[in-house]
Amino acid sequence: MKRLKTCGLIAAAAACGIASPRAIMAHGFEGNRFFPPTIQTDDPFATDEFSFPNVQLFQDPPSPGGYRTRELDYGAEFDKEIFPNFDLEFSDAFTTLNPKEGPSSNGFQNFTLGWKYELLQVPEHEFIFSVGTDWEIGGTGGKSIGSDSFSTFTPTLYAGKGFGDLPDSVPMLKPFAITGLVGEDVPTEAANPNALEWGIAVEYSLLYLEQYVKDTGMPHPFRDMIPLVELAMQSPENRDGGTTTGTVNPGVLYESRYFQAGIEAVIPINKHSGENIGFVFNVNIFIDDLWPKIFGHPVFGNTETNVASNPPVSAK
């Protein structure tokens, strides 16, 4: 199963462009809504992000004539806003494969380069719509772990919607938010199938509840958490690509001042998607708060569209 981009070795591209601190930040905000960086599905924000580490343990389904294999990925992703609302994204992962029988192997996955542009933002309705493309660069990964020798381009549409604009009669529903994406895998080698990449994340932000709807007196660290369920799917479309595969990923994100930590179960939706329940652990470092002179604003140009309007965390 080819999973949505969750992995990566640290991007080599260092951020450049130093500017004075200003009313811009890297967190994904839209109106009063903080959209956290999700783990298994990419969020719609073209902002500075540094996801490291992303550790995933999973049991792959047996290949034809092969054995079940335990897969362990250590990944990272770095995103840098280059122009207002436009970023470049770099990711990779180091993978170890331990088959039930036979020798283990390890190596880097193919390096992935991508871009994203925030096309439409409606802060009063906590809505965002973005477009982007990932380029998995063929031949840059290790052959021993089965990295493709060909490249795959994935043009993708992203969207996010918070429900803070619901009527006051349903205040407890306001902390809900969803993000989603749909993309098309286009391999450069004609023998390989095209596939629809799609995913959704449903979040309930206790941060939003406590700080913008109703202070229930919930103590830390619970009020700093965002329970969520992610669905990460891939549907082959042609060339005997097989059936739809994917995972359901229930988990929780914890927001602190300078980083987000998240953990999710990785539950395959069918036997073609994997065996047994895996897990993924992820840390997302808020580099705009740690190094505000370097991050949290585009390299070229300026914008006020990412003004923070909702806290990712309460004071401790």
Binding site: I10, S20, P21, R22, A23, M25, N32, F50, F52, P53, L72, Y74, F94, T96, N98, S104, N106, D168, P171, E210, Q211, Y212, V213, K214, D215, R257, Y258, F259, V283, I285, F286, D289, L290, W291, P292, G296, V307, A308, S309, N310, P311, P312, V313, S314, A315
Partner: protein, 124 residues
């Protein structure tokens, strides 16, 4: 376990990254408020207080109280608590029973700007 050689440097780098925390300042976000977010109070509160997560620059920070129709209520004496630079206080004119919205804008000492809103109600 074969994963250890890569695990070790990864976590060292992580620790190094997080070590920078002590030298950094974050954006100012609402921690809690009085009246409490979403609460109903029995009488006009007299003043509105917001505790932020960071110290503020007062001239570039603001706090407004709006009634249900969006009309701005008179406030005065915007100031920071002398012993707590992250506590923003304004006096508010007597409020009639009804629903109100507090709209705030906070400029942290690192000059980053945040803003937001929250409701409260004055009961009859």
């Amino acid at each position: 376990m074969k994963t250890r050689p890569i695990m070790k440097p990864l976590f060292i780098v992580l620790i190094c990254c997080l070590a920078g925390v002590s030298a950094a300042r974050a954006h100012a976000f609402l921690d809690h408020a009085d009246p409490r977010v979403g609460s109903t109070v029995k009488a006009s509160p007299g003043e509105v207080k917001i505790w932020f997560t960071e110290g503020l620059i007062l001239p570039f920070s603001d706090l407004k109280v709006l009634d249900a129709s969006g009309k701005e209520m008179p406030v005065s004496n915007k100031h920071l608590d002398p012993s707590n630079g992250s506590l923003l206080i304004v006096f508010v004119a007597p409020l009639k029973p009804g629903k109100y919205t507090v709209s705030w804008r906070a400029t942290a000492v690192d000059t980053h700007v945040t803003h937001g809103t929250f409701p409260f109600e004055v009961s009859p």
